[in-house]
Point group: C2
Chain length 365, copies 2
DNA sequence: GGGGGGTGCTCAATCGATGAAGCGTTGTTA
DNA sequence: TAACAACGCTTCATCGATTGAGCACCCCCC
């Protein structure tokens, strides 16, 4: 079994010989690299890891061979050995496409990708098709160790899978505010403050005294918070201000329907604040259809600033949600969780900013 | 070594005994399932695979135990054994964000996700940060076998990594038209026909006799094809039509600059056809700033229909690019490649459709 | 009652990467 | 000169799933 000399001459023959390692089916493994240099695969592994017990000469030779052959470590082998993969997952809702428009996720993804790229970590995308379907796809992703952690951008409060994963102490970061899940790490924005700021802008700066709010579905934390910000602002105004609420579903069409209802029932309405830009745009269409002008006859405001509000005529005054920052931040938090740097759940709350456009009136300043 | 009876009694003790398998650190492996049932892990594996040589009783027991323990196969182990992973990658450009707007990728992703979900295949996202950086991230993804194939939505013709991967016969599907890569499977749209149709609409239906085209960078196949469609249409018109070309970069700002140039130099221009909606929107802003009206003073047309053109006032007449279909189709092609069903490279070309809105004038019909 | 054929499982090897332990060889020191 | 340390590599086991080969056991038949 142990005839080192024969072994070595074999190796020499390989090195100088006429039988190249010939990587099978296009995949170069560590063995091929090691064979080309004439060392064991362990030595090659240690050389690439810059292990102190390997000579510089060997390291150079291994590195050269690896580059020459185009060696890339097999991720399955590495993940199996290490017991964890080098990927994280991003989970987005699929059924509830209407809840948030697409641009939101794209912004989020850009942020997550940036952070993941910095760490040389791959990204997996997962969708949660329907919540009744036993173990959700993204839970499988985590349990199969295909990804070592996940960022969940699902807006639904009631997803039982999310709760279960948080309870199981899976490495998960939630996007949004989840006051009922204090043990979960989350990254959200201060929607109460954002909605308060834009409402105050309408009331204080533009002198609005009759205002309506089109909210999202009130089982969404986002919708709840924005509505609360709206009420808070009104509670603190210097002048009394009458207001109304219509509940929408964050979709353009529901914004249009809500505006219809408001215009029919609230004759003296001076401003409409919709809980997102999609609904604000729907409202704009309805207002325009009735021959009314924005902002001359009616002021309009939205929320999100993911692109819609910039393109319309007039541009819609809105609250900017820093989706890309949220993505970055969520990824950073997830890495902290995975590294064990930050064992306690944190709840990051990013600030929003008021984006004043033309839909709310003139700004002499 | 071989004392089957002792082995078996041990197993029985395990089954009824007081020492539960206690999955280590939250991950349940096949061994735990097998131990709970009292069979070898091989038997458990075969049971879950519904192998004919395993008794129904054992199969039921294994399935029950797997469900009970929440067993999910470790993807690394499975991938290592199988020699291929159960994921595919989607590659999107990162540096060239301006080339296509975000919505495009989101539509594409929706399509790819749908197809991948149908096959229970995970999706990885990768970006190509800079093309000079040696082995690109997505090439590493493929070579590391983290994904068994990739859909590349990078628009750049000159990416050497793409060429290299095509040459290496990697399972890759390109999004777009790549006439210089006949050996690569691709899914694109007929941009020549699309541009021709919209140009003809302006010239024939609206009687335009002086028209300008804002193209994209002419090292992009998309830009080339759309320009060619524009020229083809003009070459076939019943009435002569003067035309001009300004080259942009697919970004809103460049569309604005191009419109400036056109309006300054081509006094009698009646219509502007931009190679995408972003540039058309930029042109719209410039036109409006000059006190001109669309469509009364000048007709405007764009390309893509990813969202922008629907939101503006007036809505921009455009060519619909079926991004979601492209995603679906690309994924299907990739699976065909991976299954070996379709070894010859195919070049799918999906049809576009003309979307007439208000920016090109009245439509009595 | 001994051979033949099924049945139902176990064994062992494999995929690729990794690192602790082992082991020759050389240089150094008492 | 013998004991010993340092060096530089190899050997081997491991991660989890999978599968071909092998092996008890049972039933059936001549």
């Amino acid at each position: 079994m142990s005839q080192p000399n024969e072994e070595r001459s074999k190796v020499v023959a390989l090195r100088a010989g006429s039988s190249p390692p010939r990587p099978r089916r296009g995949s170069v493994t560590l063995k091929h690299v090691a064979a080309q240099v004439g060392v064991s695969s362990s030595a090659a592994s240690m050389a690439l890891a810059d292990h102190p017990r390997i000579s510089e000469a060997t390291k150079d030779a291994v590195r050269a061979a690896a580059a020459d052959l185009g060696y890339v470590p097999n991720s399955a082998g590495r993940a199996l050995r290490a017991g964890r993969s080098t990927s994280i997952a991003v989970v987005v809702p699929n059924t509830s496409q209407h809840v948030f428009g697409h641009p939101y996720f794209m912004h989020l993804l850009v942020g997550v990708t940036a952070e993941a790229n910095d760490r040389d970590v791959a990204l997996m995308m997962s969708t949660n098709p329907d919540e009744t379907h036993g173990v959700a796809a993204y839970e499988r992703v985590l349990r199969s160790r295909a990804a070592s952690g996940a960022i969940i951008a699902s807006a639904s409060i009631n997803d039982p899978n999310v709760n279960r994963m948080v309870d199981a102490a899976m490495p998960v970061v939630l996007i949004g505010r989840f006051p009922h899940l204090p043990r979960a790490t989350s990254v959200g924005v201060d929607d109460v403050a954002g909605a308060k700021a834009i409402t105050r802008h309408l009331v204080e700066d533009h002198g609005v005294r009759h205002i309506a709010h089109i909210s999202g579905p009130l089982d969404h934390q986002t919708a709840i918070d924005r509505y609360e910000g709206f009420r808070n602002a009104l509670a603190e105004t210097s002048q009394p201000c009458t207001h109304a609420l219509v509940v929408g579903d964050f979709g353009e069409e529901s914004g249009r329907a809500a505006a219809r209802q408001i215009l029919d029932s609230m004759a003296d309405v001076q401003a409409i604040f919709a809980a997102n830009d999609e609904m604000a745009y729907g409202a704009l269409l309805e207002i325009r259809d009735r021959g009314l002008r924005v902002p001359e006859d009616l002021a309009l405001a939205g929320y999100d600033d993911f692109g819609v509000s910039r393109l319309t005529t007039p541009g819609i005054t809105t609250v900017h949600v820093p989706a890309e920052d949220m993505g970055r931040r969520a990824a950073a938090q997830l890495f902290a969780l995975l590294d064990g740097t930050d064992p306690d759940p944190t709840h990051a709350v990013l600030p929003t900013s008021l984006v004043v456009r033309d839909s709310c009136g003139n700004h002499p300043a």
